[in-house]
Homo-oligomer: 186 residues x 2
């Protein structure tokens, strides 16, 4: 995750050393849960290799996929991490996954260690906000079919790597309907 931080700000050797000392590592097997709902999310993970998805359950018990994260991306229940409240989401490995981990205390240390980390944290949070905003807009403005098309055009990775059943709820539709959409598009 070092390089992501460095792409935002020019950190000194000391600052990077502090970061290095705080990062830990873990691997997760395909299918395993990294976080279960009703736990507080106390760490942010960064994916070195693999794919994660976050999902919650609706009132019928169906799994609704909230988001995916790929290599070189962060994942957490940010809402739970930020508020300290229990997460509604489960985070699951879709493949065997290798992770870097920054826990709450470590991130707090970083933040307290100086202006630069505060600024970087703010900017990264801003970017997360912008991404979420785009997703929100796509739900208000587009149909499921249009969201699928958008994904085909701009996020081919999702189409290639994610099972359709997960994509469907991510797009806000049922697998049955996604099948219909795919038939129509081709």
């Amino acid at each position: 995750m070092k390089s992501v931080f460095q792409s935002i700000q020019d950190f000194s050797a000391d600052e990077i050393n502090l970061l290095d000392s705080l990062i830990t590592f873990r691997t997760v097997k395909k299918g395993e849960l990294l976080l279960a709902e009703n736990q507080v999310c106390n760490e942010i993970v960064f994916i070195e290799k693999g794919i994660l998805r976050s999902f919650f359950l609706n009132h019928k018990g169906d799994e609704i996929t909230n988001c995916f994260a790929f290599e070189n991306e962060f994942m957490a229940s940010f809402a739970s991490f930020i508020t300290g409240e229990k997460a509604e989401e489960n985070i699951q490995a879709l493949t065997d996954t290798e992770l870097q981990i920054l826990d709450r205390k470590s991130l707090e240390k970083l933040y307290q260690s100086g202006f630069n980390w505060q600024e970087t944290g703010r900017k990264l949070t801003e970017l997360e906000f912008v991404n979420l905003h785009k997703r929100m807009v796509s739900f208000q403005k587009l149909s499921g079919a249009q969201r699928y098309e958008e994904l085909c055009q701009n996020h081919q990775k999702y189409i290639q790597l994610i099972p359709l059943q997960y994509l469907a709820s991510y797009l806000g539709i049922t697998p049955r309907h996604l099948s219909r959409i795919r038939k129509a598009v081709i």
Copy 2:
């Protein structure tokens, strides 16, 4: 907006004086646009009195309401403000409105003036993220009827103050459908 910042952090008199020197004021008449789509959003406003709504157009030209802001809340096209790209949203006054304004340069000055402002900016961005996340989850997990009920129970203010036509698109449904839902609920 001073008191919002102060609720997050204990600022010194100097820090608050700097803020005071950067805030400007403006009033907007009911119906007027504060920001039009395709402009870059260069300021964050804070509502002293009144109500704002942000909306964009879908492919058919219908207005889709993105969010509302009430007294003592911030409003902006945050996505545009953050990225510097053109906004997709219009921001409109739903009533005569009195505003405090912080423009991009002023906020940048605050941020550069010290750690505390960076930290406060990060925390406020985090809270915006969490709110947006909740809204996103409600779109993925609930029906339009359930979102309306949720609004009745937890955000009575919306029901009382916002015309139903705007509420409908905010909830992701048509006015016709909202009318059906209201009939069923009562």
